[in-house]
């Protein structure tokens, strides 16, 4: 009974109802969509780890990265339980995939599970297995693997013989998996290495997921602003109804209960809709996210989404929590409302004046917390807490700052209509302030993330130009071809610079040691962010090593410190170089020293300096007979790196647009809800001789002015956000710190968007006012008491 009286309000205010539902739906959708993406990616890491590490079996490696198959037979004969693995990259269709060759008879159970439901006969005859998505990407080839969900995306699992043939590794294997106890002593030339557990991959990608989660949370918060403002306004409008019901004898308890049931009903409806929308959104974004994770971290993530009931329940719970958060204030106010509470707007204005003081106090406390976190906090979590505190503080300051701006404008105004315009804008600020806060947050997020990405891009492009000075790079098939190539090219080009690397643990982190030839190419171009004097001479004289920025920042190692390199002990750090896009630790030593430390390491790539890339290329193809795929020219490499970069921030861009649209929706909801109230405020002006057209124009102008003021406020907040992202979050998440750069053209574009969003939000109410003419305004004189 009480409930139906309450609900009848929504039937008469359908737009308001729509806003509550849409706000909650969007909030739930954005949040749970991001969660679905994260869960999917994490699940994929686990699958990958289970297969790659073969149930966590340790490996036996040789220093050269290859060993004769005879080693396997020899060890098996000696009673050591090992299983051979051949691993390499091949091109199937137009796609590069990892070919993983195993011996099904000796393979550990984890790998065997991948084969469990397939037929062994088919496997042995060369068919193999691949994830359905890999199959889709490679299309029809002469090798036609069977689909299996247990194989990571981008990998084809085949019998070892098939892999040896395809990779040209007849009689050779890549490494051995240990399925029993380690042999003692360790056989000559072999090294025991612990498996990748997947935790490493998860650790590296954690920052990416945290970024996504933070965005999801921001979108959720902005969505709740809509719900909060709609529920709050509905509460104001139903004050009279509450009073009537109470004086008719409905108890406060059952009235509050009815309101709570109403909220729960909304949460359920919007939660279900939000889950559906979130699922669709995640499914649409997943291919990009997967591509980013593959490109940035080499993490194998399939591009199709799976449904999980736990995720659905969590999403629904968020919808309820959100509804409670957004509607809690209304419930609390109802609980404390005297039976005959006046329905005057003045009481509301006074209450919101008090609210403004609380907001300022809260903003002050949050700002202090943010400063404290900035000074004393460390770690990614502290970074995000700082961001959250600073953003909330800024959001709470929105209204006082706007009120101040409008008051100043009113002081300066001379014409009566202008005076009214400013005074009236200020009086309506409390009702608009939540939506404006949402707009401010969305704009600040756009400016902050946009500045971060643009700063990053500018630095990244510079860095690419410095790093990719070699006109082309060649990937030799094997060590022998590498030597042959070097001999072939030496007289034809200016320089051949071989790239050799060994995997190594540096200061406790996974990484690699690289060899660098002492050459002007590096001396003149290789970027450094910190160095000792005479760094290049020192490097050539085997006095120390260069390390990358990630390692330097994570382990706090700088020129003057030292780092332990495998086989070399503590080595002085001569310089630190930026190394964007790579999550691993790196150290570089001069070529000669590298070869004495890690003898026999094959050359992975050759960088070529030449005046005439076209001629060199032709010579390689025609005279040497190299396949075109083995040559990467500079432009290609740059394009590839930039593509990976752009993709990384594609999702950020999509979420930015979503947040801004949610804010625009909040504004629209508020303006539409307020338009009835506006009539009362506008009617006297119309009666005194302002045309409806003039009034509608003023309504639009007000929207633009508020958008402009909000944008002005969002600018410093956004820059602060960018600075925190660049100097705190990026350092923690990726290990590099970037200089903040300013892009006013982007701001102008954003301001334009904000203005358009605001115009779009206010256009409909203004249009209705204009089209309605005097009729609705006149009704004010007849009805309003």
């Amino acid at each position: 009974m009480t409930l139906s009286a309450l609900l009848s309000h929504w039937m008469r205010n359908k737009v308001q109802l729509a806003m509550v539902l849409v706000g909650l739906t969007l909030a739930t959708a954005l949040w749970s969509g991001v969660q679905a993406l994260n869960a999917q990616a994490r699940g994929a890491y686990a699958t990958a780890a289970a297969l790659v590490s073969e149930d966590g079996a340790p490996r036996l490696d040789s220093a050269t990265g290859q060993m004769p198959q005879a080693r396997f037979i020899e060890l098996r004969r000696a009673g050591v339980l090992v299983s051979p693995v051949v691993e390499g990259r091949v091109t199937l269709g137009d796609t590069r995939v990892t070919l993983l060759g195993i011996d099904p008879l000796t393979a550990p159970p984890g790998t065997a599970a991948a084969l469990a439901d397939g037929d062994l006969q088919g496997f042995l005859s060369g068919a193999g297995y691949a994830h359905p998505e890999t199959l889709e990407r490679i299309g029809a080839t002469d090798m036609s693997p069977a689909p299996s969900q247990a194989v990571p995306v981008g990998t084809v699992l085949v019998d070892i013989g098939t892999a040896q043939n395809a990779l040209g590794m007849t009689g050779q294997i890549s490494h051995l998996l240990l399925t029993g106890p380690a042999p003692r002593p360790m056989p000559d030339g072999l090294r025991l290495s612990q498996p990748e557990t997947g935790a490493e991959l998860a650790g590296l990608t954690d920052s990416f997921h945290l970024n996504l989660t933070a965005f999801g949370a921001l979108a959720f918060a902005v969505g709740l602003f809509i719900v909060h403002s709609a529920v709050g306004l509905a509460f104001e409008q139903r004050r009279g109804l509450f009073r009537t019901l109470r004086s008719l004898g409905v108890s406060l308890r059952s009235l509050t209960l009815a309101l709570a049931v109403e909220l729960a009903l909304f949460a359920l409806l919007a939660g279900l809709a939000g889950l559906a929308l979130g699922y669709v959104m995640a499914a649409a974004l997943l291919p990009d996210v997967a591509a980013t994770l593959r490109g940035l971290y080499g993490a194998p993530v399939p591009g199709s989404l799976q449904f999980s009931p736990v995720w659905a329940l969590a999403g629904l719970a968020m919808a309820f929590a959100g509804a409670g958060l957004a509607g809690g204030q209304a419930l609390w106010r109802l609980w404390h409302m005297p039976v005959l509470a006046p329905a005057q707007p003045r009481a509301w204005a006074m209450a919101s004046g008090r609210a403004m003081r609380w907001q300022m106090l809260g903003a002050g406390l949050l700002a202090a917390l943010a400063v404290a976190l900035g000074l004393f906090g460390s770690g990614l979590f502290a970074g995000f807490a700082l961001l959250a505190a600073a953003l909330l503080a800024a959001a709470l300051l929105t209204r006082p700052v706007l009120a101040l701006g409008l008051a100043l404008a009113a002081k300066a105004a001379r014409a009566p209509v202008l005076q009214w315009f400013w005074a009236d804008s200020r009086q309506n600020l409390p009702r608009l302030s939540l939506a404006l806060m949402a707009l401010m947050l969305a704009l600040a997020a756009n400016i902050g993330v946009g500045t971060m990405v643009a700063s990053f891009r500018a630095t990244f492009i510079d860095w690419l130009d410095q790093r990719l000075v070699a006109e082309m790079t060649i990937t030799p098939r094997d060590a022998a071809q590498a030597v042959a190539l070097e001999d072939f090219l030496a007289p034809r080009v200016q320089a051949v610079l071989p790239l050799r690397q060994v995997d190594a643990t540096l200061a406790g982190q996974p990484g690699a040691v690289f060899a660098m030839r002492d050459h002007a190419t590096f001396r003149d171009n290789w970027p450094l962010i910190a160095q000792v004097p005479g760094v290049w001479d020192g490097l050539a004289a085997e006095q120390g090593a260069l390390i990358n920025e990630q390692l330097a920042r994570r382990a706090d190692l700088w020129p003057g410190d030292s780092v332990a390199l495998p086989g070399a002990g503590e080595v002085a750090i001569l310089g630190v170089y930026p190394d964007y896009g790579n999550p691993l630790a790196q150290a570089i030593v001069t070529e000669g020293w590298f070869d004495s430390l890690y003898p026999g390491t094959p050359t992975r790539q050759l960088a070529i300096r030449t005046d005439d890339p076209a001629a060199t290329r032709a010579a390689l193809l025609d005279e040497f007979g190299l396949s075109a795929q083995a040559i990467t020219d500079q432009a290609q490499a740059k394009a590839l790196s930039l593509a990976i970069f752009e993709r990384t921030f594609l999702i950020t861009g999509a979420l930015n647009v979503l947040t801004l649209s949610v804010a625009a929706l909040a504004l629209f909801a508020t303006l539409v809800t307020l338009s009835g109230l506006r009539l009362v405020q506008l009617a006297p002006l119309w009666a005194m001789g302002l045309t409806v057209r003039h009034l509608a124009g003023l309504e639009l102008a007000r929207a633009l002015v508020l958008a402009g003021l909000t944008m002005l406020l969002a600018l410093p907040v956004g820059l602060m956000l960018a600075q925190v992202l660049l100097a705190v979050i990026n350092v923690q998440a990726f290990g590099w710190r970037l200089p903040l750069q300013i892009f006013p053209a982007d701001w102008a574009r954003l301001a334009l968007w904000a203005g358009l969003a605001m115009l779009a939000a206010s256009a409909w109410p203004a249009w209705r006012l204009w089209r309605g003419g005097g009729g609705p305004l006149l009704r004010v004189f007849a009805n309003e008491r």
């Binding site: 707007p345 003045r346 009214w420 009362v680 009666a687 005194m688 001789g689 004189f781 309003e784």
Partner: protein, 219 residues
């Protein structure tokens, strides 16, 4: 030529039972400096007639002439201009601008019409007993105080035609009499045509002419 001429005005409102006629052929002239009292029982259509005379609402038939100018022939902007400078209206529900102070409300219409005179405004506020309330906002006033601000606002703009809907309805007898006298004095001194609605036979008796609206016609 009368300042305000209403010729055979007809108006009805739609309701669930069909169109309900409210005004069924009302004709009335108000000359410069003339004060006309409009009486009639509640719901007889007095406010409706005033709204039509002010050009806020269009009659179904008949003509409204202000200074000989036909309202219906004017575009919206022209009617708005008349409301701004020529016709003043004191509403039954006051309709003050909620975001402006009493002082700003008093001066508002005069400033819109570009005839603002600060001295006259202060004088009016004093005579209406509003001097101490100038910094307040409308919602901080009692009904009677709001009514006096509404009257002051209309008088400050010195319109040629002043339409007042029960201007003393919320005032005690003494205050009502004082305000009524002020309106009459100003109208006569400035040559304003004043059409006012009142339920008080005593006040109506002080006017130049008295008309009664009944069953949609003037008697």
């Amino acid at each position: 030529m009368p300042l305000l001429a209403l010729e055979d005005i007809r108006k009805s409102f739609a309701s669930a039972e069909g169109a309900v006629p409210v005004l069924q052929g009302v004709s009335l002239d108000v000359a410069a400096g003339q004060v006309v009292a409009l009486t009639g029982e509640s719901g007889s259509g007095k406010s409706t007639l005033l709204h039509i005379a002010a050009g806020l609402e269009a009659p179904e038939s008949g003509r409204v002439l202000i200074g000989g100018q036909d309202m219906a022939a004017l575009p919206d902007a022209g009617r708005a201009k008349l409301r701004r400078g020529t016709v003043g209206l004191v509403f039954q529900q006051f309709n003050l601008v909620p975001s402006l102070t009493v002082g700003a409300n008093l001066a508002f219409q005069a400033r819109l019409a570009n005839v603002h005179d600060a001295g006259f405004c202060t004088d009016l506020a004093a005579r209406l007993g509003l001097s101490d309330l100038l910094a307040r906002y409308p919602e901080q006033l009692s009904g009677g105080q709001q009514q006096r601000v509404a009257i002051g606002r209309a008088l400050a703009a010195r319109p040629k035609v002043l339409l007042a809907d029960e201007p003393t309805g919320n005032l005690d007898e003494a205050t009502g009499d004082a305000v009524f006298t002020l309106m009459l004095d100003l109208a006569r001194a400035q040559g304003t045509g004043l059409l006012l609605v009142t339920h008080s036979a005593r006040l109506a008796g002080q006017c130049d002419r008295r008309v009664l609206l009944r069953a949609g016609r003037l008697a």
